[in-house]
């Protein structure tokens, strides 16, 4: 049984480290919280990022947070983007108003991310074909999907913990 790490992202984002019933429940699932942090590391800072760089991952994460109205989490990923010292074109992906103009591959990453992060039910085979046509490899399509899928999970755990705390 691992001990709870109060510095894990979902716990700090939800301000759930203070002693009380939410903290007690988290202590009982400390193993799951540790695995949650491990999946974050795999999706955001993998040893082998393939064709999707750490900078693009951090920028897309900030974008997804914003698309889900979680500005605090966006700030977290923007800080990570600064730490990586990503160039301007990469950092622009964090802004939902920007669509990867002038770069077919990045435009495809963004279009897929915007759809899957907010309306996954509307995804079709054509959306995957668009990525392939833009030169995104099959392995990178899986990486992009995992990044989106992880963020969907992380944002919801944070939102749920906040609600739990507000009503404890």
């Amino acid at each position: 049984m691992s001990a709870l790490s109060p510095n894990d992202i979902v716990i700090t984002q939800a301000h759930a480290a203070d002693s009380g019933p939410v903290r007690d429940a988290l202590e009982g699932r400390a193993d799951i919280m540790a695995m949650t942090q491990a999946t974050h590391d795999a999706a955001l800072r993998p040893a082998d990022p393939g064709g999707i760089s750490h900078g693009e991952r951090a920028a897309l994460a900030a974008r997804i947070a914003r698309l889900n109205a979680d500005e605090d989490l966006a700030v977290h990923y923007l800080a990570r983007l600064e730490e990586i010292a990503a160039d301007e074109d990469v950092a622009a992906l964090a802004d939902p108003a920007r669509k990867g103009e002038g770069d077919a591959r990045r435009a495809a990453l963004v279009a897929y991310t915007d759809l899957v992060s907010t309306h996954p039910r509307d995804t079709t085979a054509a959306d995957i074909e668009t990525l392939k046509t833009a030169g995104v490899s099959d392995a990178d399509i899986v990486r992009l999907s995992e990044l989106n899928a992880f963020l969907a999970y992380q944002i919801r755990v944070i939102a749920g913990l906040k609600l739990m705390k507000a009503t404890a």
Binding site: P21, V22, D24, A25, L26, G28, R29, D31, I32, M35, T36, A38, T39, D41, A42, A43, P46, A47, D48, G50, N68, A69, D70, V116, T118, P120, R121, T123, A125, D127, I128, D138, A139, I141, V142, R143, S145, E146, N148, A149, F150, A152, Y153, Q154, I155, R156, V157, I158, A159, G160, L161, L163, M164, A166, T167, A168
Partner: protein, 192 residues
């Protein structure tokens, strides 16, 4: 020939990938380890072979999935399946819904709840506790901001304790993840 299915069902379909699964005979040692391939276990689904394209995530996600769905204590297994179905219905992941609805039915020996959920979604007539769980999972899935303090109070009023509510949050959120893989990277199909 195979046909893509679009309607919810408890008959588990096949899954046809839209991207290339890795080939087992070309897998790296890291991929074989994440796939848990051993001489006595060489059967791996196309879905998992697709996910092995991102081996670092697959390796840590599988234990997370199992812990959230099967760890002891907290909310019961059938209720975690109900939460998974709530997410899968909202996200229209027909494959995920079929797998987890059928597990719910196996665990509860009651097919009526899933029949109602598939027919009426969030309007389904359920008992107070089932309803509070299903509605919370569905709203959190549609958009995190849609789940409210009132939904949380409904869970508490229906008798859920904090450890159970945490398991509900985790299982519904986990299917925000699973649905985004299963529903986007392939199609649920039946063989004609």
């Amino acid at each position: 020939m195979s046909t893509i299915i679009h309607e919810f069902t408890t008959q588990i379909p096949s899954w046809r990938p839209r991207v290339r699964p890795i080939k087992l005979n070309e897998a790296t040692p890291e991929q074989l380890d994440a796939l848990k391939v051993t001489p006595s276990n060489t059967k791996v689904s196309d879905y998992v072979l697709v996910l092995a394209n991102d081996v670092e995530t697959l390796k840590v996600r599988t234990p997370l999935f199992n812990a959230i769905m099967y760890n002891r204590g907290g909310m019961g297994r059938a209720e975690r399946e109900l939460s998974a179905v709530g997410a899968s219905v909202v996200n229209r992941c027909v494959y995920c819904a079929a797998v987890h609805a059928s597990r719910y039915n196996q665990l509860t020996k009651d097919e009526e709840v899933m029949e109602r959920v598939f027919a009426d979604g969030e309007g389904a007539e359920l008992d107070e506790r089932q309803k509070a769980i299903f509605i919370f999972a569905a709203k959190l899935s549609r958009a995190p901001s849609e789940a409210t303090q009132d939904d949380m109070r409904a869970l508490r009023a229906a008798g859920l304790k904090d450890d159970e509510i945490l398991d509900l949050i985790l299982s519904a959120s986990l299917f925000g993840w699973a649905n985004r893989l299963m529903h986007t990277l392939g199609d649920p199909v039946i063989e004609d």
